[in-house]
């Protein structure tokens, strides 16, 4: 047991060390020189994908990106450092197959969990920035994700900093059961304390943000920004279709739809994201 923990800890430590060097080598680089746009099928060189922030230069489709790439796009170079990066599960999860799944997710993403939390500067303005990674077990929220998010919020509260969370999550981490559910309460309560201090919380909702993450911190931003065409909702489309016995339109639960329904403040394209966040920080008196 303790062995397992040490092993994982060592792995993460070594990853953290190695990451420093690799920071500006986006890991989205595919094996092939070209990657087609999943939406319009246009063939785009990976150099262009990188330059265009993983937005299709032809149709504007926003590719899902990793947590680290997200942070690179938002924060000033060399200003971001993780807080409580090493938080990881100390309990043995007795749910069959979970450890293996975690292990695979960790290896394939190079992350210890589905969220990266830290402090950085955005055009010089200091802020806590958390980014979820949908490549890590669909960005599902278990105890560690909830804990890291909560610690980040508490960090922001105690230092009177704004916090920005980029969400990307399929919902709760089923394997952790009720512990996972309770993270909704924990993160929301931490945000209430942050808000009561008059501090700014912005959410950046990215594709997909559903289930327990949508029904907690994703929807609690003073300002809720969404990327174009991101899926945002509580229940899954299939569940809803089964419940109401009708086929839902393709725009259902998408950013543009949810803006019309009154739940999104603004939709921002990736190329304007950093400048918009900066302006919003300034407009909220953050310096």
């Amino acid at each position: 047991m303790q062995d397992l923990f040490n092993k994982r800890k060592a792995k993460i430590d070594s990853f953290n060390k190695s990451r420093k060097k690799k920071e500006f080598v986006p890991k989205e680089i595919p094996e092939y020189m070209f990657r087609n746009c999943p939406h319009c099928n246009f063939s785009i060189s990976y150099r262009e994908w990188i330059d265009e922030l993983y937005v299709c230069s032809r149709c504007g489709y926003h590719l899902r990106i990793s947590a680290n790439e997200r942070i690179r796009q938002i924060c000033d170079r060399d200003t971001y450092y993780e807080i409580d990066a090493k938080v990881t599960t100390v309990n043995e999860h007795d749910f069959e197959g979970y450890d293996e799944k975690l292990d695979i997710a960790q290896r394939s993403t190079g992350l210890s969990e589905a969220v990266v939390c830290g402090v950085g500067r955005i055009n010089g303005i200091k802020a806590v920035v958390c980014a979820m990674d949908s490549n890590f077990m669909m960005g599902s929220m278990g105890g560690v994700v909830g804990e890291k998010i909560t610690k980040s919020i508490e960090y922001a509260t105690s230092r009177r900093l704004p916090i920005i969370i980029a969400t990307a999550s399929g919902g709760a981490r089923m394997q952790e059961g009720i512990i996972s559910l309770m993270q909704m309460a924990k993160t929301s309560a931490a945000l209430k304390r942050h808000s009561d201090k008059g501090l700014l919380y912005m959410t950046l909702i990215t594709d997909p943000t559903t289930g327990g993450v949508s029904a907690s911190y994703a929807m609690l931003g003073d300002i809720i920004i969404a990327e174009p065409n991101a899926l945002i909702g509580f229940a899954g489309k299939r569940v809803i279709e089964k419940t109401v016995n009708e086929t839902l339109p393709p725009q259902f639960q998408r950013s543009e739809f949810m803006l019309e329904k009154g739940f999104i403040d603004l939709i921002v394209e990736r190329r304007d994201l950093k400048s918009t966040i900066t302006k919003l920080l300034i407009l909220h008196g953050v310096k």
Binding site: V87, T88, T89, V90, N91, F95, E96, G142, G143, V144, G146, E147, T150, A172, M174, Q175, E176, G177, I178, I179, S180, L181, M182, Q183, M184, A185, K186, S188, A189, A190, L191, K192, R193, S195, D196, G211, G212, S214, A215, S216, Y217, A218, M219, L220, I232, G233, F234, A235, G236, V239, I240, T243, V244, E246, L248, F252, Q253, K261, G262, F263
Partner: protein, 306 residues
């Protein structure tokens, strides 16, 4: 053999009893029924509790309200969009003290369930809960919530009107509500839809109630793509009152009569009444800041890692 199978057997025996005039046979049947009840009731699996928690004869929120708060006055509406019958809110006196009630109300009959949407709330239900809770705060009334839902309603309109936002807002607002909040899980406590009304200073759970991240069927379907493995899922989900007490999520378990709450509801009510009363009395002595901090710590420590 599941509890449900015993129940079927018992029902058959009772039917047999009603047809016979032989006093001896009647007595024998009674003894057999008793024995089976004892055996089945004392060896309940998680799956059995799922069955009992959802039982159509199990008392629903309104039964508790009627017994515990005979002078209950229902208050309606979220003041935005509608009045959601899946969540019942109102005021009552409890041991001479004004209290606010917020309850997830399943129906007992099909007709009632249609009106109450089978206890699955829409966003306006959660917004009504917030409105009524804020009034409780304004007028210093303790709040008692009753949790009994398979989950928030996964409907089209619910999504359009912000189910996620409404639930999140509940979690957000209840976390610092400046009044004592007691939550009682009486049946099914499923997913964020149940969690929204479970943020309080004391969580009481009936012995055979369940509380989980989602239904065992949904769990099996998501993890194993096989809804029929719900029974298996339930055994792993740690959804019984005992599991949740061990995890520190539930503070107190109210023992149920053999077979479930409906078998001796009066007695159960007596004990629940005492438990709620004691909880409020005790918590009302706590300074408000301390209460809010404790509430925060209660949720804060769940899933906390080094």
């Amino acid at each position: 053999m599941d509890y449900k199978d015993y129940e079927n057997l018992i029902n058959k025996l009772l039917e047999q009893k009603s047809k016979t005039n032989d006093e001896k046979e009647k007595e024998a049947i009674d003894n057999e029924v008793k024995r089976m009840m004892m055996f089945a009731g004392e060896n309940l699996t998680a799956w059995d509790r799922v069955y009992i928690a959802r039982h159509k004869d199990r008392p629903k929120a309104y039964d508790y309200i009627k017994k515990l708060f005979p002078d209950f006055i229902e208050l309606h509406g979220d003041r935005y969009f509608g009045d959601d019958n899946a969540i019942v809110t109102g005021l009552a006196t409890f041991h001479d003290m004004p209290v606010t009630i917020i309850a997830q109300a399943k129906g007992k009959t099909t007709e009632e369930n249609i009106i109450r949407n089978f206890g699955m709330a829409n966003p306006e239900g959660y917004r009504k809960a917030i409105r009524i809770a804020k009034q409780a705060e304004k007028f210093n009334r303790p709040i008692i919530t009753f949790v009994d839902t398979s989950g928030a309603y996964p409907g089209k309109g619910a999504e359009e009107r912000g189910q996620a936002e409404a639930i999140a807002e509940c979690l957000f607002e209840f976390s610092t509500l400046k009044t004592v909040v007691i939550c009682v899980v009486i049946g099914e406590g499923g997913s964020g839809g149940a969690l929204a009304l479970s943020i309080g200073d004391k969580i009481i759970m009936l012995e055979n109630a369940i509380y989980s991240i989602l239904s065992p069927e949904g769990f099996a379907s998501i993890l194993w793509k096989d809804e029929t493995r719900a029974k298996e899922a339930s055994e792993r989900m740690k959804l019984t009152s005992f599991d949740l007490k061990n995890l520190g999520i539930v503070d107190e378990i109210i023992k149920e009569p053999l077979g479930g709450a409906q078998y001796d509801f009066e007695d159960l009510i007596k004990r629940l009444d005492r438990s709620i009363y004691n909880s409020i009395s005790e918590l009302e002595k706590v300074r408000m800041n301390t209460l809010i901090n404790r509430r925060y710590e209660k949720y804060r420590k769940i899933g906390a890692y080094e």
